[in-house]
C-alpha cells in the first residue's frame, strides 16, 4: 500500500516535470508550427545555470534567475536563429533546432565537463517532510510537487485569462488578423518561444538536482517529452498534462513493482525453463520494460489515434 502511494507520488512528480517541458514545447509548436528539438537542451541549461548560480548566491536566487536567463537565450534564439531560417520552411527550422541541441550539448561540455556536476538539493530541504509506515518522503520532493502544480496553475490562468494570453491564443490561429489589429506578432512569437524555454529552464532548476545534472540529460529526457506531446495531442496543453502524468506514474509503478512478465507469457503456453532467446523474455520484468514503455505507447497511439488524446490535427 505504502509502495503504491509513494510511487504514485513520485510518478506525479516526474509527470509534472515532464509537463513543464511538454507545455513549453507544445505552446511553441502550436504557435509557430515548430517542433523544437532543442527544447530539452533548455531544460539542461536551466539545471547548469542553477548549479552555477546556487554556488554563488544559493538555490533560491537560482530558481528565479536561471529560468530568466534561459528565457532570454530562448527569445534570442527565436529572433536571430529561427526567424531568419523560417522563410526556408519547416524542414530547415527542424534541422536548425536539431543542430542547436548538439551545439548546446557541446558548449555545456566545454564549460562544465563531461561528468555530472554536484548540483545538490538545498540543505534545508534535504529532510523528511513526513514519514509514513517507515518510509520517508523528502521535503524537497514535496516542494517540487508544490512548485510544479503552482506553475501549472499560473500557466493556465496566464493563457486563459490575461490579455497577453488571449493575444497568444488568437495569434495561434489568426496571426494576420492579430497583427492588423495592431499587435506585434513577431514579438509575441519571440517571447512565447522564450517563455516556453524558461518553463523548461524551471524544470531543469528543480529537477536537475534529483535527476542528475550532466551533459546527456537533454538527450535522455528529450525523446520522452516528444512522446508526451504526441500522446497528448500536438498543441494541446490538457493533453500534455494528462499524457505527462500518465507516463510519469506508469514509469514509477513499473519500476516499484517490478512484476515478472512470465504470467502473460504463460498464457501463450511458454514454459518457464526454456532456452535461448525465450529465456530472456521469461526473465523480463516491468522494470526492465519501463524505459521502452513510453515509446510503446507512442507507437500504439500513432496507429490507433494519430492526433493524440486531445489533438486537433494529425502528427
Amino acid at each position: 500500500m505504502e509502495v503504491l502511494v509513494f510511487s504514485i507520488f513520485n510518478g506525479l512528480l516526474y509527470g509534472m516535470l515532464l509537463f513543464m517541458l511538454a507545455s513549453g514545447l507544445t505552446l511553441i509548436f502550436s504557435l509557430m508550427g515548430v517542433l523544437n528539438f532543442a527544447h530539452a537542451s533548455f531544460f539542461m541549461l536551466g539545471a547548469y545555470f542553477a548549479y552555477q548560480i546556487s554556488g554563488f548566491i544559493g538555490f533560491w536566487p537560482g530558481l528565479v534567475f536561471a529560468p530568466l536567463i534561459v528565457g532570454v537565450i530562448g527569445a534570442a534564439v527565436e529572433r536571430y536563429g529561427l526567424r531568419p531560417v523560417h522563410k526556408f520552411g519547416h524542414v530547415a527550422e527542424l534541422l536548425f533546432t536539431f543542430g542547436l541541441a548538439f551545439v548546446i550539448e557541446e558548449v555545456v561540455q566545454m564549460i562544465w565537463g563531461k561528468v555530472p556536476v554536484p548540483y545538490d538539493i538545498p540543505e534545508t530541504m534535504n529532510v523528511a517532510a513526513f514519514t509514513w509506515r517507515g518510509l520517508d518522503y523528502s521535503a524537497y520532493r514535496l516542494f517540487m510537487l508544490g512548485a510544479s502544480v503552482a506553475i501549472f496553475l499560473a500557466l493556465f490562468v496566464f493563457i486563459a485569462k490575461t490579455r497577453t494570453g488571449l493575444i497568444i491564443q488568437a495569434a495561434l490561429t489568426h496571426p494576420n488578423i492579430v497583427s492588423s489589429l495592431g499587435h506585434d506578432v513577431g514579438k509575441i512569437f519571440m517571447w512565447t518561444f522564450g517563455f516556453g524555454c524558461a518553463l523548461a529552464g524551471v524544470a531543469g532548476v528543480i529537477g536537475g538536482n534529483v535527476l542528475g545534472t550532466e551533459p546527456s540529460m537533454a538527450i535522455t529526457l528529450g525523446p520522452i517529452v516528444f512522446v508526451v506531446i504526441v500522446i497528448g495531442g500536438l498543441g494541446s496543453l490538457w493533453g500534455a498534462l494528462i499524457a505527462a502524468l500518465f507516463i510519469g506514474i506508469m514509469d514509477n509503478l513499473s519500476i516499484s513493482y517490478d512484476l515478472s512478465l512470465y504470467p502473460v507469457l504463460a498464457l501463450f503456453g511458454v514454459e518457464r525453463e526454456v532456452e535461448g532467446i525465450m529465456q530472456d523474455l521469461v526473465n523480463l520484468t516491468t522494470a526492465g520494460l519501463a524505459p521502452v514503455l513510453p515509446y510503446l505507447f507512442l507507437v500504439l497511439m500513432l496507429i490507433l489515434r494519430p492526433r493524440g488524446l486531445f489533438g486537433t490535427r494529425d502528427v
Partner: protein, 231 residues
C-alpha cells in the same frame, strides 16, 4: 488622409495590381467597386501590408509601403477583412478586447458603445465567437476594429451574404462611423449602399482603376456600369 500612387502587387508571378491610384480625404466615405477578382481585396491588403506593396502609399503624410501591418494599424489605419475572421475559441467580449491596441485603450468607441448600438451583441457577450451567426460575426469584426480607434477604416464587403435587414444595420453603423469623424474606404460589389453613402467612388477593372467620380456621375455613366459593373 490616404493617398495611393501607382500601386502594384503580385501573387507569385501573376501581376494582380497594375498601377492603382486612389485617395481618401479626412472624414470622407469612398467606395471601391468592381466585379469579382479585379483586385479590390488585394488593393486594401497591399495598403495594410498583408500583401507586399510596390509603389507609394501615404497615410497621414507618412510613407507606409513596406511597414509591418501592426505598425500601420498603430498609425490609425483599421482593416476589416472579407473573411469575417473572428477568433473562434474566444468569447465575443474577448474578441472585442483584442481590438484594443493597448490594455484599456480609450477612444471614440468603447465596448459599451458597441453593445448600445447592437443590443444583440450584448446578449451574446460571453458566447464563443465560433458559434455566432454570420451576421453577428460581421458586426463583431467591424466593432473589433473600431475598438482600436482607427482614423480611417477599410472594410471589405461587409454586406456580402447578409439579409436585407442586416444590410441596413451595416449601413447604419457606417453612418455612425462617419458621424464620429472616421474616413471609410469601403469595398463593395452591390451599388445600393455604396452609392447612397459615398462621397466618391472608384471602379476597378483588372488591376487598375477605370472610373473615378461621384455617385451621381457613376449613375449617369451607363457605359462604365455596363462594361465594369453589371454582370
Amino acid at each position: 488622409m490616404l493617398k495611393v500612387t501607382d500601386l502594384h502587387a503580385y501573387y507569385g508571378k501573376s501581376h494582380i495590381l497594375q498601377g492603382v491610384n486612389l485617395t481618401v480625404h479626412g472624414g470622407e466615405i469612398v467606395s471601391l467597386l468592381g466585379r469579382n477578382g479585379v483586385g479590390r481585396s488585394t488593393t486594401i491588403k497591399a495598403i495594410m501590408g498583408e500583401v507586399e506593396p510596390h509603389g507609394s502609399i501615404k497615410f497621414k503624410d507618412q510613407e507606409i509601403a513596406g511597414m509591418p501591418s501592426h505598425e500601420i494599424a498603430r498609425l490609425g489605419l483599421g482593416y476589416v477583412s472579407e473573411n469575417r475572421d473572428i477568433f473562434p475559441t474566444l468569447t465575443l467580449r474577448q474578441n472585442l478586447l483584442l481590438g484594443q491596441k493597448i490594455a484599456r485603450q480609450t477612444g471614440r468607441w468603447s465596448i459599451d458603445d458597441m453593445f448600445d448600438l447592437f443590443p444583440a451583441l450584448r446578449e451574446r457577450a460571453d458566447t464563443q465567437g465560433g458559434v455566432l451567426s454570420g451576421g453577428e460575426q460581421q458586426m463583431l469584426t467591424m466593432c473589433r476594429t473600431l475598438i482600436g480607434d482607427p482614423d480611417l477604416i477599410m472594410i471589405d464587403e461587409p454586406t456580402e451574404g447578409l439579409a436585407p435587414q442586416l444590410v441596413e444595420t451595416v449601413a447604419g453603423l457606417l453612418s455612425e462611423m462617419a458621424r464620429r469623424g472616421l474616413s471609410i474606404l469601403l469595398v463593395e460589389q452591390k451599388l445600393t449602399i455604396a452609392l447612397k453613402i459615398s462621397a466618391r467612388v472608384y471602379v476597378m477593372g483588372r488591376g487598375v482603376v477605370v472610373f473615378e467620380g461621384t455617385p451621381d456621375e457613376l449613375r449617369d455613366n451607363e457605359q462604365v456600369r455596363k462594361e465594369w459593373l453589371e454582370v
